[in-house]
Symmetry: C2
Subunit: 124 residues, 2 copies
């Protein structure tokens, strides 16, 4: 059961890193940082790409849950979804930060256990 | 000049996302979250992989600057480097957080510009 759960997560992570692995797709996410844009505007921002290529890249980003599309009439608005990026950060840096916090905690305990040394250092 | 600068950065980012794109390499980074480990210990943690495969994955992670190796005698200690992961976060969420902060700032300004409405709401 856990194996299946991990496999689903690994598949999602594969999709996320595959999507982020292409510089054009990273640029498209950069474009969406300041707010959602229509597919038309994204095409105008990338005259070097044809509309079909932009739409293919957006499909990969959408499959990886990095872009959330919103239909408004005939327009498609593309929203940056920061949750998967937040999860990358949490996976490695969240734990690292806790590890660092533990280290500092242990250091503080060690210092607290040597009050004479501390007060001597402070008086110097 | 800027183009060259961006190209170098794009190459580095390609290496980072390629490295993170493999589930075994993500697992190796998970193993290093709690602190550095020797290559020997990493091999023991992954009996399903032969030593050569582990070393190849570590080489990809090292090229992407996600792992920093440290030689101590005959041992190689592998350290997780969080800087590239921090930069992924900063690239998209840093800006997003600033955008959200701006939005809140504008909202506060709008609210400050309507004191009568606010005091009316507070008195109710």
């Amino acid at each position: 059961m856990l194996y299946t759960y991990n496999m689903i997560h690994d598949d999602l992570d594969d999709a996320i890193f595959r999507a982020l692995g292409h510089r054009t797709r990273r640029q498209l996410l950069d474009d969406l940082k300041a707010g959602p844009l229509t597919t038309g505007v994204l095409c105008e921002l990338h005259p070097e790409l044809d509309r079909c290529t932009v739409m293919q890249h957006l499909a990969v980003l959408t499959d990886a849950d990095l872009v959330i599309p919103e239909r408004k009439g005939r327009e498609r608005w593309n929203h940056l979804n920061i949750i998967p990026i937040q999860q990358i950060h949490e996976r490695w840096i969240g734990a690292f930060a806790r590890y660092t916090a533990d280290k500092v905690g242990h250091l503080e305990q060690s210092l607290a256990a040597t009050p004479r040394l501390l007060s001597k250092a402070h008086s110097e």
